[in-house]
C-alpha cells in the first residue's frame, strides 16, 4: 500500500503527459489571420500533428483547393524548418508553377507516387520518422482509423507536421469516408466560392474560398470566407461568417509568398 502511494505522483505525471495538449510540445504555426488563429488552440496550427483537409463538390475528386490550402501552410513550414516536403500521391498531377503561386517552392518537394492508399500511408509514416523532412503530405481515398492513429503518433513523436488531403473518385466512396472519425487533430474543408467581380474588369475576379474548420481537438468548429487579394497570393478575410462575427477582420491580410 505504501509502495503504491509512492507511485502516485509518478502516475499523475504520466496521466498529465498523456493528456497534454499536443500544441504544447512542438509549438504552433500561426496563419497570421487573427480570426482563424483565435479559433485554434495555441493560436495556430499545431506542429507535429496530423491535419486533414477535404474538398467539396467536384473538387473532392480533383483536390485543387485542398492542395492550394496545404501549399500555403507548407510554404511557411518549409521556410521556417528548412527541410523537404514529402508529398505522396497516387497520380502526379501537382503543377510546380501553381504551387509556387501559393508560396511553396516546388524544388523543396519530393514527390512519392504510389497507386494504393496503403502504400501512401506507409510512405507518409516513413517520412514522419525521417530527419530532414519539414512536413509530410498524403493524398488518400480510404483512411482506416488505425492508420490515422499511427500517423498522428509518428507526427507527435518526431515533431513533423502531417497533412492528409482526402480525394474520392466516386460519390459512393466519398459518402462512406466523408464523416468517418479519425485521429487527425483538425479537419478542414475548403470550398470554392464564386469570385467577386473587380470593378471595371470583366472576367474571373479574385478567387474566394470558404474555409471551414469542421473539427478541432481542443477548439470549436468555425467557418470563414477568404479571398486571394491579387496574383501574388495575398489572402484576406472577406468576412467572418460563423461564430465570430464581431471580429474586425476585413482589413487583415497575410502574405503567402514571403
Amino acid at each position: 500500500m505504501v509502495e503504491e502511494r509512492a507511485r502516485l505522483p509518478e502516475l499523475r505525471e504520466r496521466v498529465k503527459w498523456i493528456e497534454r495538449p499536443t500544441a504544447a510540445i512542438h509549438g504552433v504555426l500561426p496563419f497570421g489571420i487573427a480570426a482563424i488563429d483565435r479559433a485554434l488552440p495555441g493560436g495556430g496550427l499545431t506542429r507535429g500533428a496530423l491535419h486533414e483537409i477535404l474538398g467539396m463538390g467536384g473538387d473532392e475528386e480533383d483536390g485543387a483547393l485542398a492542395a492550394a490550402f496545404a501549399a500555403g501552410i507548407l510554404g511557411r513550414l518549409a521556410r521556417t524548418g528548412n527541410g523537404t516536403v514529402l508529398w505522396c500521391l497516387p497520380r502526379p498531377d501537382l503543377y510546380g508553377p501553381g504551387l509556387a503561386a501559393h508560396g511553396l517552392d516546388p524544388t523543396h518537394i519530393v514527390l512519392v507516387r504510389a497507386p494504393r492508399d496503403s502504400e501512401i500511408l506507409w510512405a507518409m509514416e516513413e517520412g514522419l520518422r525521417a530527419p530532414g523532412i519539414a512536413a509530410v503530405v498524403g493524398e488518400v481515398g480510404s483512411l482506416p482509423a488505425v492508420a490515422s492513429r499511427r500517423l498522428q503518433l509518428a507526427a507527435e513523436r518526431s515533431g513533423i507536421t502531417a497533412f492528409l488531403l482526402r480525394r474520392w473518385c466516386d460519390g459512393g466512396q466519398a459518402a462512406r469516408e466523408r464523416n468517418l472519425p479519425n485521429a487527425a487533430v483538425t479537419r478542414w474543408r475548403i470550398a470554392a466560392l464564386p469570385s467577386q467581380p473587380l470593378p471595371g474588369e470583366p472576367g474571373v475576379g479574385r478567387p474566394r474560398w470558404r474555409v471551414e474548420l469542421l473539427r478541432c481537438r481542443g477548439g470549436e468548429p468555425a467557418c470563414w470566407e477568404v479571398e486571394e487579394a491579387d496574383a501574388t497570393a495575398h489572402v484576406s478575410l472577406a468576412a467572418a461568417l460563423a461564430d465570430r462575427p464581431a471580429a474586425p477582420v476585413s482589413s487583415e491580410k497575410y502574405r503567402r509568398t514571403g
Binding site: D62, G96, A101, H102, I133, V204
Partner: protein, 453 residues
C-alpha cells in the same frame, strides 16, 4: 529407336515425356546455386555448367578442395555429375565429358595439350556433321588433328575446327559470359548447420555488411546496387536486390534496407550460404559520411536513407522532384526528375508575368464536350467527367503555340492552343484550351488541362 520398339524389347521400361523447358529451368537454377563458388557462372548448353573460378579457388583452400566440396554437395542432392578443372574452358569441357577415370579431373596449370590427345574429336564442342566428317576421313582423336595442316582443315571443315582446338589448348582466349552482371565486390558467409531462423538471417546480413563496408571504404567507393543471395540447401537461391539513390556504404543504412525485405526470403529447409555483392560502385569520398552514421552534410544526404527506403519499395521512378524548365509549353515547364538521377540544379530565370497557372495539371489533357458561340469565345457550357458546368466568368484566350523546333509529333494538330480560365456557377475554376484553328483542316477540340484553386 521409336518408343514402341523399345517397349517391345523391354516391356517394363520406365518412360517419361521430355520436358526441355523444365530441364533448362532446372539447369539454370543449378547454375545459380553454383554462384556460391564464383560470380562468373553460366549454364552450358543443355547438360553442363561452367564456372570461372580464377581468383576464387583460394577461398575454398585450393582447386581440389573446391571440386571436392562441389562433388559432395551434388552427391547429397542426388545429382550425377562430372567435374573438371582446367586452364581453358574448352579443355575443362572436354575432360568433364570424355576423360577416362573418375571425377573430378584437375589439369595442372599450363597442361592443356597432352591430356586432350587421346580424347575423341567430339570433345571439341563441334556440331555433329563436322565430327562425322572428321571421322569419315579417319580423324578420330584430338591428337590426330594436331599434325594436320591448319589451312587444309579450315578449307575442308570450316574455321570452327581450328578455333575450337586453339581455344581448348589456350591459344585463343574465350571469355565466359556470366549469368548476371559481374559484381565488383563480394563477401560470403557459409554455415555448417543450415540456418532458418529470421533472427539468424538478420545476423548473417549484418555480418556480411560489416564485412563489405570496410572494403568499400578502403577503396573510397560506395555501392548503388546490392545483391544479397541466400543459397538454400535444396539448391534454390533467394535474393534481395537493393538500389540506393546515392552511393552508400553506411552499414546501419544498408542493414536497415535489407532488414525491411528479409521477410520476403523463404529459407525453406535451411540456408547454407549467404553472399553479398556490391554492383555499380561509385566514388564516395570519406568526408561524405557522418561519423555517427547520420550527420548529413547537406539536405539531400540527410534524407537519402528515406529516399532509399521509398525507392526500394515503390521503385525509384516513383520518387521524384519537380524541376522547373525553360519552356512556355505548360507541361514542359515543370518536369518530374527521379531523385536517383543526378540533381541538375538547373537555374531557370523567373518567368515573366504570366496569367495564373493551375495547381493541378492533367497529363494528358482531358477532352471535354464544350459549347461556344463566336470563334474567340470561351465555352458557355462544358461537360467533363459526368458533370456539367455552366461558365459564369472567363479570362482569355492566352495563345500558346508549340515550340517550332520540336519535330512534328502525333499531337501536331494541337500545335496551337488557346487557353481560357473559366469559372463555373459553383465558383470552381478550370483551365480549358481549344486545340486547332478556326478554318483549319481539323475540327476544333476542347480540353481541360488543369484546375485552379
Amino acid at each position: 529407336m521409336p518408343l514402341a520398339d523399345a517397349l517391345s524389347f523391354f516391356p517394363g521400361l520406365a518412360t517419361a515425356a521430355a520436358e526441355p523447358a523444365k530441364d533448362a529451368a532446372a539447369l539454370r537454377r543449378l547454375a545459380e546455386w553454383c554462384s556460391r563458388y564464383s560470380p562468373w557462372t553460366a549454364p552450358d548448353r543443355v547438360d553442363g555448367i561452367r564456372i570461372e573460378i580464377t581468383g576464387s579457388a583460394h577461398l575454398w583452400g585450393g582447386e581440389e578442395a573446391l571440386a571436392a566440396d562441389l562433388a559432395t554437395r551434388l552427391d547429397r542432392r542426388h545429382i550425377a555429375g562430372r567435374i573438371a578443372i582446367a586452364d581453358t574452358l574448352g579443355a575443362a569441357w572436354a575432360m568433364a565429358r570424355f576423360a577416362e577415370g573418375k571425377s573430378p579431373v584437375i589439369l595442372l596449370p599450363g597442361d592443356c595439350r597432352n591430356p586432350l590427345i587421346p580424347l575423341p574429336v567430339e570433345a571439341l564442342r563441334l556440331d555433329p556433321p563436322t565430327t562425322q566428317g572428321l571421322r569419315r576421313v579417319g580423324l578420330k582423336r584430338v591428337g590426330d588433328l594436331s599434325g594436320m595442316p591448319r589451312d587444309a582443315l579450315t578449307r575442308r571443315f570450316g574455321e570452327m575446327v581450328v578455333r575450337r582446338l586453339d581455344q581448348a589448348q589456350g591459344d585463343l582466349p574465350e571469355p565466359l559470359s556470366p549469368l548476371g552482371e559481374a559484381p565488383t565486390r563480394r563477401v560470403r558467409l557459409s554455415f555448417a548447420e543450415p540456418i532458418v531462423d529470421p533472427a539468424d538471417l538478420l545476423r548473417a546480413t549484418e555480418r556480411l555488411v560489416e564485412d563489405l563496408v570496410p572494403r568499400l571504404a578502403q577503396e573510397g567507393i560506395g555501392a548503388r546496387h546490392l545483391d544479397l543471395a541466400f543459397h538454400r540447401v535444396d539448391g534454390r537461391v533467394e535474393r534481395i536486390r537493393l538500389g540506393t539513390a546515392r552511393p552508400s556504404r553506411d552499414p546501419r543504412h544498408l542493414v536497415a534496407l535489407f532488414k525491411e525485405r528479409l521477410d520476403t526470403v523463404d529459407p525453406g529447409l535451411g540456408i547454407e550460404d549467404v553472399i553479398l555483392a556490391a554492383f555499380a560502385v561509385e566514388p564516395l569520398p570519406p568526408e561524405q559520411i557522418g561519423l555517427a552514421g547520420h550527420t548529413p552534410t547537406n539536405e539531400t544526404n540527410g534524407i537519402a536513407p528515406l529516399l532509399d527506403r521509398l525507392g526500394n519499395r515503390l521503385g525509384f521512378a516513383a520518387v521524384s522532384r519537380l524541376e522547373p524548365r525553360e519552356s512556355h509549353i505548360p507541361e514542359r515547364s515543370s518536369v518530374r526528375v527521379p531523385v536517383a538521377s543526378a540533381h541538375s540544379h538547373a537555374s531557370v530565370a523567373p518567368a515573366p508575368d504570366k496569367p495564373p497557372r493551375p495547381i493541378r495539371l492533367f497529363e494528358p489533357p482531358e477532352p471535354v464536350e464544350a459549347f461556344w458561340l463566336l470563334p474567340d469565345d470561351p465555352p458557355f457550357r462544358f461537360a467533363w467527367r459526368r458533370r456539367r458546368h455552366r461558365v459564369t466568368r472567363a479570362d482569355g484566350p492566352e495563345r500558346i503555340a508549340d515550340e517550332w523546333w520540336r519535330p512534328e509529333g502525333p499531337g501536331a494538330g494541337d500545335a496551337i492552343r488557346d487557353y481560357y480560365r473559366v469559372e463555373d456557377e459553383e465558383g470552381r475554376r478550370f483551365w480549358l484550351f481549344r486545340a486547332g484553328l478556326h478554318g483549319g483542316d481539323q475540327s476544333l477540340r476542347w480540353f481541360v488541362h488543369g484546375v485552379f484553386s
